[in-house]
């Protein structure tokens, strides 16, 4: 299987297509940053920082490409310790920008550790799953994997960086899935998350339409749970009792399923309930507004819909060929917010039109396709898992960011890796691409 003929792969050690995709995205991104940021007062500073980020990113790529990826597996504990240390450091020494304590300022430059730590988490988790692959079907392994991720997620939530933490979830799920994790386990975790998100949505909905909750017992009950711990306990007990009743009922009707199924169902529901209520209680107002805007764009609570609408107008008005670089009215005249960072895809859509936006889509697919390809060819399970995790990460960021610009996903403050302005993200992403290139180059066991 690993000796499958791949003429391009056989010939070279370096995956030029992967590099082409990455460089293409970085180039488009750089041009767009130059264009979108040009009306800003701190334009020279932005250009200077971006050039520096490009240089550092190139170095990070070479670092990833040059260093044998198995070193990360060997030094997994060190890496994990470093990751946690850096996340603690940011909470202690970090600088607060717009309500997030997420920056570490060093003498020459500042960076956001969360961008690097998500790649570190993939490397650490890949090691854990690789070592436990024989017990992968066990619940303990699954819990262990979650145990590896939980400190990182918690530290991210403390910043608080809700978006980054939430986007680790699909990465973990994808890695569990691709190591051969039990589908039942994965379904349970997903179900738990599903209940939590659904509760948050329900609560947001009842805020959007107060009149609905007057007529709907469910919504009123959700509101009650958010306010009172006692009622939460009652609800949890009720869920357990109902599950037990269902178990007895199925026995009486001579259906025989293992009791474990019922306990898992109850556990999933209760933990989902608790997580959902926890989110409901701690979610920030602007974050809830993003949900609301997504649910009902026209409602526009506190102008939160402004971002989405302006992004849609920008992309939609771009047409096939776009308005030309430096000529987008939405971006150049300042209607589009966060235009060189989170909403850069909207600028591409406006100034380069469908051709440019589709090119970004195509390059991203090519990039992820090459990572998947490297996963298939990788010489060991560790490399496979790292590539899987990176595929999921790039895929999740790509879909959430572009989906946000296109109005199909709630606004989340995450960048489009390799394209958006932001040194930390660019350097981390290029490092990740470098690691993939290294895994590819080491695909032959004898090399």
């Amino acid at each position: 299987m690993m000796l499958r003929t791949d003429s391009a792969g056989m010939r070279g050690k370096v995956d030029w297509l992967l590099i082409f995709a990455a460089v293409g995205l970085v180039l488009i991104g750089s041009v767009m940053i130059l264009s979108a940021a040009s009306p800003l007062l701190r334009y020279p500073q932005i250009v200077q920082r971006h050039v520096m980020a490009l240089l550092l990113g190139g170095a990070a790529f070479l670092f990833g490409l040059g260093m044998h990826y198995q070193v990360f597996q060997d030094q997994s504990r060190v890496l994990y310790a470093l990751t946690l240390a850096i996340l603690v450091a940011v909470l202690v020494f970090g600088e607060t920008v717009r309500g997030h304590r997420s920056w570490i300022r060093l003498p020459l430059f500042a960076f956001q550790p969360s961008e690097v730590t998500r790649i570190c988490m993939i490397l650490v988790l890949a090691n854990y799953l690789d070592r436990r692959h024989k017990q992968i079907e066990r619940l303990g392994t699954l819990m262990g994997a979650i145990g590896v991720a939980v400190p990182i997620v918690t530290l991210l939530l403390l910043q608080p960086d809700f978006s980054s933490a939430a986007l680790l979830f699909p990465v973990i799920i994808a890695m569990l899935f691709c190591t051969g994790g039990s589908l039942g386990h994965i379904a349970s975790i997903t179900g738990c998350a599903g209940v939590a998100v659904a509760l948050t949505l329900l609560e947001s909905l009842s805020m959007l339409h107060p009149e609905w909750s007057q007529n709907s017992g469910t919504l009123q009950f959700v509101g009650l749970l958010s306010r009172s711990n006692g009622w939460l306990a009652v609800a949890a007990a009720a869920v357990c009792a109902l599950t037990y009743l269902a178990y007895r009922a199925s026995l009486a009707m001579r259906f025989r399923y293992p009791p474990l199924y019922y306990w898992v169902t109850a556990g999933v529901l209760v933990s989902g309930l608790c997580a959902g209520i926890f989110i409901n209680r701690n979610i920030k107002e602007y974050q809830r507004n993003r949900f609301l805007v997504f649910l009902a764009p026209e409602s526009d609570p506190q102008e939160a819909g402004y971002h989405v609408n302006q992004a849609l107008v920008a992309i939609g008005s771009g047409g096939v060929t776009g308005k030309g670089i430096f000529s987008g009215t939405q971006s150049q005249l300042g209607f589009l917010p966060e235009r060189h960072t989170d909403f850069i895809f909207a600028v591409i859509g406006e100034e380069m039109g469908f051709l440019g936006a589709a090119a970004v889509l195509g390059l991203y697919l090519l990039l992820m396709g090459r990572i998947v390809h490297a996963a298939r060819l990788s010489r060991d399970r560790y490399g496979f898992l790292v590539c899987t995790g990176l595929t999921a990460m790039f895929g999740a960021y790509f879909m959430v960011n572009v989906g946000m610009c296109l109005g199909v996903i709630p606004v989340a403050g995450i960048p489009l890796p390799l394209v958006s302005y932001g040194g930390s993200s660019l350097v981390a992403s290029l490092w990740a691409v470098g690691i993939v290139a290294n895994i590819y180059s080491k695909r032959y066991a004898f090399a």
């Binding site: 299987m1 690993m2 009306p39 692959h133 994808a174 899935f177 691709c178 190591t179 051969g180 102008e303 402004y306 302006q310 849609l312 107008v313 920008a314 992309i315 939609g316 008005s317 771009g318 047409g319 096939v320 009215t329 939405q330 005249l333 300042g334 209607f335 859509g349 406006e350 039109g353 469908f354 936006a357 589709a358 889509l361 991203y364 697919l365 992820m368 396709g369 998947v372 996963a375 298939r376 010489r379 060991d380 399970r381 496979f384 899987t388 595929t391 999921a392 895929g395 790509f398 879909m399 572009v402 989906g403 296109l406 109005g407 199909v408 066991a445």
Partner: protein, 617 residues
């Protein structure tokens, strides 16, 4: 190296890859939908985002007097506009802006703030203040750098170079009101348009008004003007050439101002055509005041809007003796030689009617009776003629009917006689006839009606519809409109009656109550009148026609001095000054010059399109 599980793992990886492709596919479809299917919708949205269209009021048509004097024109002024930023502005900034602007614009900051919020709510540019003088403009341009969204543009503003002159005739401009908006909506007007509110400005509103132009501006998200994308040129309004003789108009106003009460009306007509040569009413107002930026700050400004010449209906007093005389002479009830003895009073039954000359006029025939305005002569001859006939002659001279001058609010006056009394269910007595003979009683006439009557006497029978407009010059290819003289009626009287009537009126001036108006080298026929007014001082009347000896009369006038006292003392000086102005060679008056007004406005044509739409950056 590869263990057996690897095959299964790759299968799961394929599923992951398919999910990624599925997601990308959905995004691509959405992208196609937004960019290609909904492109037009979003392009329009983007265009609305970045552009504001600001309508620019076209210069109104100019009004010219007979001699070419410009009596209403336009001036370049600055308007302060606010382009709302697309993002929510915090209330503090808006309040500070309103507070800073208020003293310069002389408006209350609360009102300004309302305007700012309205602009933000409606996402459209609004004018915060219009017609700002250049002095304020320079102060504002400093503020402009502090607050984005504030910009200045140039527009045309109505200007009346002669101030209050002919104010009642020209009218004034004002903001659109509710009723006008219903009428004018959809004819190129906006809710904040200025329209003519009275006079010529109102009557010819739609001719005077041109087609507004506009500027399409590119603005950024904070409402700052980036560039002018397009200037839509306006079409200026039509110029109107009026029949008014500016020298006579000025003379009439000046004379009325210096009359005993300083209040009254003067109408001068050309008896050969019905052209209105002067049309004055005092007290007047300066229509420029209505255009001041602080206009809205002074609510209830008391404006003497009442046009005495047109809307004021008064008892005619002795000037009505012209019509009484016409009736009695033309119907043959009285021969001009018939004499009446005036002891200073007349008794009807046991009720005495006084002559104004309490000493009495002794023996009076037609010529001396009219010359001295002997009331007793007309009491007796009026009774001999009868109320019915006198009423018929009132109607023949079109009293009780509007003259159709064409300005709004004209009063029709009131006919007085047996038929009118019967129509109202009353009985007519001889005492009424006596009163009617000398123009008292319930009879009411307006100065413009009396001017038409005296003009008909001057031209021997033709009642012209008095008119103010000579021609209207339209913009573009539409041929100009010319006002031809229109005959409203004829007074069919015998030539001998006209001779007697004119002879009588000329005798008034040469040897009677109107001696004060005599001007050497002119043939003038006139009649004084003093209308008794139970509510105050008498109103002084004088009607007259004048011309070169041996020629047909070329001018007819009617003067009313409101509460002025005796016609001979109050109204005659006014008439005399107008006649001196009209026939300068006859009197020792300066040669008539058409002088340009001082401080003339920049004509809009000179301001030129290339200059005007420029927004001051």
């Amino acid at each position: 190296m590869m263990d057996s599980g690897r095959e299964g793992l790759n299968a799961r990886l394929d599923i992951l890859w398919m999910l990624v492709c599925l997601g990308a596919g959905i995004l691509l479809l959405r992208l196609l939908h937004i960019q290609l299917v909904q492109n037009v919708y979003y392009s329009q949205a983007a265009e609305r985002n970045r552009t504001h269209v600001l309508r620019q009021t076209a210069p109104r048509g100019r009004l010219y007097a007979r001699g070419g004097e410009i009596i209403a024109t336009n001036q370049a002024v600055f308007s302060l506009i606010y382009l709302p930023p697309s993002k929510e502005q915090d209330a503090g900034t808006l309040e500070r802006l309103a507070g800073d602007l208020a003293p310069h614009l002389k408006q209350y900051s609360g009102k300004l703030l309302q305007g700012l919020y309205r602009a933000i709510r409606e996402e459209s540019a609004i004018r915060l203040a219009e017609k700002l003088p250049p002095k304020i403009m320079f102060k504002l341009s400093e503020l402009r750098t502090l607050y984005p969204g504030i910009n200045l543009i140039v527009e045309a503003r109505r200007q009346y170079p002669y101030g209050a002159s002919a104010a009642h005739l020209l009218g004034y401009m004002g903001r659109m009101d509710e009723a006008s908006w219903k009428r004018l909506k959809g004819r190129g007007y906006r809710i904040d348009s200025w329209i003519g509110k009275s006079g010529i400005e109102k009557v010819f509103e739609q001719d005077l008004r041109g087609r507004d132009g506009g500027i399409r501006m590119e603005v950024d998200a904070r409402g700052r003007l980036r560039q002018i994308l397009e200037s839509i040129p306006w079409t200026a309004g039509s110029n109107i050439y009026m029949t008014i003789d500016w020298t006579l108009q000025k003379a009439a106003e000046e004379a009325l101002r210096q009359s005993t009460s300083g209040s009254g009306a003067a109408v001068v007509l050309d008896p050969k055509t019905g052209d209105v040569l002067a049309f004055a009413s005092l007290p007047d107002f300066d229509p420029n005041l209505f255009l001041q930026p602080d206009e809205e700050n002074s609510p209830g400004r008391a404006v003497p809007e009442f046009n005495l010449a047109l809307q004021g209906a008064f008892p005619p007093g002795s000037i009505f003796k012209i019509i009484t005389g016409a009736a009695m002479l033309n119907e043959g009830r009285v021969s001009p030689e018939d004499r009446v003895f005036c002891p200073g009073y007349f008794e009807l039954g046991n009720r005495p009617f006084m002559c104004w000359e309490h000493k009495g006029h002794r023996w009076q025939d037609w010529l001396s009776g009219i010359a001295h305005s002997c009331d007793v002569y007309f009491y007796k001859m009026g009774l001999r003629t009868g109320g019915e006939l006198i009423e018929r002659y009132q109607r023949m001279f079109r009293l009780g009917l509007k003259t159709q001058l064409g300005l709004p609010g004209e009063s029709a006056g009131r006919v007085f006689g047996p038929a009118q009394r019967r129509a109202r269910g009353g009985a007519w007595y001889d005492g009424d006839t006596v009163n009617l003979s000398i123009g008292q009683g319930e009879l009411l006439v307006t100065p413009i009606q009396m001017a038409v009557v005296i003009a008909a006497v001057a031209n021997r029978g033709t009642i012209w519809r008095p008119h103010l407009i000579k021609r209207i010059e339209y913009e573009g290819k539409r041929p100009e409109y010319r006002q031809e003289p229109e005959i409203a009626g004829q007074v069919p009287m015998r030539e001998t009656t006209w001779e007697l009537l004119q002879e009588g009126l000329e005798r008034v001036v040469s040897d009677g109550t109107g001696r004060g108006v005599q001007i050497p080298g002119l043939t003038i026929g006139g009649k004084t009148g003093t209308a008794q007014n139970p509510g105050g001082d008498d109103h002084a009347w004088f009607v007259a026609y004048a011309g070169r000896p041996g020629e047909e009369p070329s001018l007819a006038l009617a003067i009313l001095v409101h509460h002025g006292g005796h016609g001979a003392e109050a109204a005659i000086p006014v008439a005399r000054r107008i006649l001196q102005a009209a026939f300068p060679q006859s009197a020792k008056a300066p040669i008539r010059l058409s002088t340009a007004p001082e401080g003339a406005a920049i004509p809009v044509e000179l301001m030129h399109r290339s200059v005007l739409p420029q927004v001051l950056r």
